[in-house]
Symmetry: D2
Subunit: 255 residues, 4 copies
Amino acid sequence: MLTIANRNFHSRLLLGTGKYPDYSIQKQAVDVSEAEILTFSVRRMNIFEADQPNFLETIDTDQYTLLPNTAGAKTAEEAVRTARLAKASGLCDMIKVEVIGDQRTLLPDPIETLKASEILLEKGFIVLPYTSDDVMLAKRLQDLGVHAIMPGASPIGSGQGIINPLNLQFIIEQSTVPVIVDAGIGSPTDAAQAMEIGADGVLLNTAVSQAEDPVKMARAMKLSIEGGRLGYEAGRIPKKTYATASSPTEGMSIG
Amino acid sequence: MLTIANRNFHSRLLLGTGKYPDYSIQKQAVDVSEAEILTFSVRRMNIFEADQPNFLETIDTDQYTLLPNTAGAKTAEEAVRTARLAKASGLCDMIKVEVIGDQRTLLPDPIETLKASEILLEKGFIVLPYTSDDVMLAKRLQDLGVHAIMPGASPIGSGQGIINPLNLQFIIEQSTVPVIVDAGIGSPTDAAQAMEIGADGVLLNTAVSQAEDPVKMARAMKLSIEGGRLGYEAGRIPKKTYATASSPTEGMSIG
Amino acid sequence: MLTIANRNFHSRLLLGTGKYPDYSIQKQAVDVSEAEILTFSVRRMNIFEADQPNFLETIDTDQYTLLPNTAGAKTAEEAVRTARLAKASGLCDMIKVEVIGDQRTLLPDPIETLKASEILLEKGFIVLPYTSDDVMLAKRLQDLGVHAIMPGASPIGSGQGIINPLNLQFIIEQSTVPVIVDAGIGSPTDAAQAMEIGADGVLLNTAVSQAEDPVKMARAMKLSIEGGRLGYEAGRIPKKTYATASSPTEGMSIG
Amino acid sequence: MLTIANRNFHSRLLLGTGKYPDYSIQKQAVDVSEAEILTFSVRRMNIFEADQPNFLETIDTDQYTLLPNTAGAKTAEEAVRTARLAKASGLCDMIKVEVIGDQRTLLPDPIETLKASEILLEKGFIVLPYTSDDVMLAKRLQDLGVHAIMPGASPIGSGQGIINPLNLQFIIEQSTVPVIVDAGIGSPTDAAQAMEIGADGVLLNTAVSQAEDPVKMARAMKLSIEGGRLGYEAGRIPKKTYATASSPTEGMSIG
């Protein structure tokens, strides 16, 4: 059970809604993923562009918790403005704070992310900041009172998976709120690894929407996240340099 | 569907039966794993030691395909003798050839493994050799006519996972028979990775039987192997050095 | 040639002076390392404790550039106070800003590091901040005008080497000042890797002072840093999945 | 000191002579590398093609020990024939046995390598087989009496470096003859790593000859191999998960 700000979710997979080949595939992928939290860019709500297809019309907002993000914001001010727009829709009070510091790496700006999170917390938002895997920055965000920490595994859309499992481990060890690994997950193996390290959830988008078969990949992610979580709970064997027999190698004479 | 020597299996997990805390946990773990092929050391059949508990009495041999292994053999001759003992039981005609060259690393002896496989194929066995990840050795075994190749990921019971994914990839690319990653798998992430590389199955034992909660770990492995396989089939996104936005970052003015 | 704030150094190795078995070994290690910049904790200057052995008495301050660090500081204020103490000695105007956010991981606090760097730059110090490998934070420090960026490879004294080469690459690509990899280097291989990624220098301490033979390790580091740097300049071959013959495999008939 | 069959060498770098841009660069690279053993394909000796440039004319055969290889051989028989041709030249009695099993991966055929090694040992050659990193195969070769073991780090010319350091460690631990890491080394970091694992030497070719600046890369390799070896001898610090201060963080009050 994943609990964010007193809301409970059975699924530990948060699914992004961008860049699917078409709406039908998006809908099927969302279905089989069994995700309960869907993320999307506020910029895609098209609140003020009524003539364009609206993402929200395709989603049953009773069934899903919406987690809009502030993608496109380069400053805290822009992120706050975007978050308020999202809330004004009446559809959501959670916000994924995403303030990008560099267009090539899409890595988050730590200072503006802190600022935006502080302001939005004051305004009563449920705040889930996308952050780097900087351990002390995650601590700072947690001290502000954010409702989850969302460290990146590697650059957004890069599919490189978890580059620094140690930092994720440190963030998870110190965290008093859920840690959701966000950005860079490329495959079911990556998602399972995040869960085995002890993450409370995984947020991914491109790995599913841009897979050759997004619907099948959505199911793959669901299964591997469940498998990784169970593996974490089950307590894995320690790693050893040398071998240990699983079958007896001594003592029974045969023939 | 995993097909070995014209027999079809829904599950791609082959589960070892050694070193569980007790028979009840072993049975539950086997159940939830949904494995259809169970491996065990012929030395544990206790055919000639009727007073000791017999592993085979605890297993429904109608439901499961038994894959005895020749653990304990140090030469081809010993492996062949052990295999014949197993077949004489009338319970199985498959054999996992396991000829260990060194007790510290439990790595297989390539020459004796080749020899034993050749002899057992001549005698009509269905032969699945445990081998290192040596690519050319796997080719040699395949050329002999073995029914599956079972390369190790890392030393038996070490839990180190897949050390050389490139060799596994090469073995899978060249292989005309199923490739089942055997030995060294420590966690659901490792199992998912084996499947993503394109393995046809995963054989594991210690990772489940020696986990803190073997039953939960058995389920974790089942899920992650399914997830990894689906991920392989779904076609993952390529890895990129730099980032790629999943949300539009340009062009929509907000406010 | 490494240039920091218009000063040129032949050596790209910055050596820490802490935790050597004794002064004699420290001196020999410093000698064979051919380091020109030596780091030490201001707390070890013992300026006000004249009865205790003073590190600075063992070092020829004409020959070496001293880089005191603010180890022990938990806030910008403490770091600034420590830096001013160091400068008051008249022996140095460079300062390695080190503000630790957590005693277990010894990872730097990003906000206090930024603050301390800003204040010390205003006061005319040559400022080299120890920072995490957060790319955007490194950018922020650079924008302040620091004279070098010193990202950690992994936790101080952990010997884990470079966990996230991608972040180091990004920091180096964006940087307009020298990037000196600091903290976590455990072996000559790690040091060579830092240089191959394109770092301008490597700062290390424990890897030498706590090696079984610190003097030999000092020489090992000197050589591997030179080797890694030359390798970077020489332009390595690309990595390929498949093989490429170095010897002709076709066309010449023999016998 | 590297000792092969009672001959001593100061350098632990064995350098290949193939694929340099031109003879002048080859000569300079050989010079600065300070290698004492040079490898080349017997096929390039052009013994019977007197009208073509001969590699051996460019090398001072008094100064260097020549290590011809049997590149191009696909069977033991071909390798033996090639080795005998080389010996007939009167220039060398060492032979690098190289029997390739697959043209795409250029990985060695274990059975033919064993066979060729056995025959050549009987004929009095000093035999250095190129082998995979299969630990038990290396043991088999050693038991035959070969004079060094040359396991590949990764496919020839791939520049992927050491994929399986554990297998190299096992081979080195068990070996009674020198272990020379051969094939796949791409950069000074890779070479340093091989030495730190405890290899007695490194053989490389493409990493130098196809670098953008082969002469500079030759020097880089020389330095990093020396650095890696010294690091091995100096006894590196253990790796730790958490941090350890190199400067005192407690106890001295300042100001």
